[in-house]
Symmetry: D2
């Protein structure tokens, strides 16, 4: 299973002396783009092909505060894909102890640069096939 390690940066902390909650949303993105890139779908190549993949929804459940000095492991899983939309779920755990710091989910569609919804099956059939394969693997 793909996972993505992240060392907490000082600038990610706030004056509660914990990682500011908005950064978990950024970590989801870092893990998701690294995962898709690893699976053969680099986001910069997709954009170069004229397709963007904006975020439709995001949610995050904060279980345990993350602090400076920690390294976390983010595990993204492609939980659904139907040709026009995909959903990724995430777990964020302390790399050393395995303690669960947060869970979350993001959903995404594909748009052409002029903002129209794109069916990936037609526009990028190879990428479509990769995503279908990834979802099957998770079932």
């Amino acid at each position: 299973m793909f996972s993505y390690d992240w060392t907490v940066q000082y600038y990610e902390t706030d004056q509660m002396a914990i990682v500011h909650h908005s950064n978990y949303i950024r970590w989801f993105e870092s893990a998701r783009t690294a995962y898709l890139s690893e699976m053969g779908i680099p986001y910069d190549k997709m954009e170069a092909a004229g397709i963007i993949s904006p975020v439709l929804t995001v949610n995050c459940q904060y279980r345990q505060m993350t602090r400076y000095g920690e390294t976390v492991t983010i595990t993204p899983v492609l939980s659904s894909y139907n040709g026009v939309k995909y959903v990724v779920t995430y777990e964020i755990r302390n790399k050393e102890t395995g303690v669960l710091n947060a869970t979350g989910e993001t959903s995404h569609c594909f748009l052409s640069k002029d903002g129209k919804i794109v069916s990936l099956k037609k526009a990028l059939p190879e990428t479509h096939a990769v995503l279908q394969g990834l979802v099957k693997k998770e079932e």
Copy 2:
């Protein structure tokens, strides 16, 4: 009804030429803290009293991309409060056109600085009364 205006900053954009989705989570915080401060609950005073109010959950639904040059109006509403936890919902709209850019929700508890759950009714009875009043007003 309280609302909070925000002018999109250049550094909030990403290479899709839209505001990066993580910034909406930050706007929720800006609107929430301004709202609570306006209602007599300034966050810096609460922290000075030894109480922090971390985020338990966050969700956001992105409806319309927000772009550089826009000003948005964020409307936070205290939708529930039970003495140990409160929930705030948000609408983000283009200030000029009123178009809905996003909706969302955050939930929060109160902790002492050593991480124990605080009952606000005992710890800060005045703040407790303000929050109760705000929830009633919304019902």
Copy 3:
């Protein structure tokens, strides 16, 4: 003289309980773009005309820590402009007390979207005239 007010946001603090130093660089940008826009040079219009204005150098001297709860006033001044490059200097002061929190300077050029240096006098003569006028005023 143009000045730009900014209320410190919670997410701008770090675990030293002060504003993280990287945010001052962002405040310079906010003040600079608001200033130029006020003077008739909105950055989004310039980009729409195919010209970007990247940062060449930045420096900042931190005099006094800025904390959550403060509002600062940023004063940008166009200190030089020669047709292909301009320099802006900044003062950041506590709005209430006038205490100097930081000073700094940024320099910028103009580029076409394919990365070539643009002489503003030819490309955008009206913007060129505005910048010349602003520099004169400061002398």
Copy 4:
């Protein structure tokens, strides 16, 4: 020589389709704290001992735009240390091509948590010795 690799994150880009310039200042910090930690001066331990090390000045010269998809190598060098203040210089290069993207410098002092200047020689003699050794090595 110590160096620190960083993969550009999507959220670090802006609508010029380059890394926003404020992020280089954050990369300096990431490289500096990793470097000092590697040399036996972990920043979290120093803070736990009641000493903070705020930034006094920062400057950065942007030579080449950095884009999404790039990995950069940041090389921090402790260029001076006199017991109460230290200076670090940086080079940021494309990891693959070696092209120089930026150079910069930050300076720092040591403060107790109540804001008084700390002489590291007295307060943390071992850390003082490490810093002296590092500067000698660079001469």
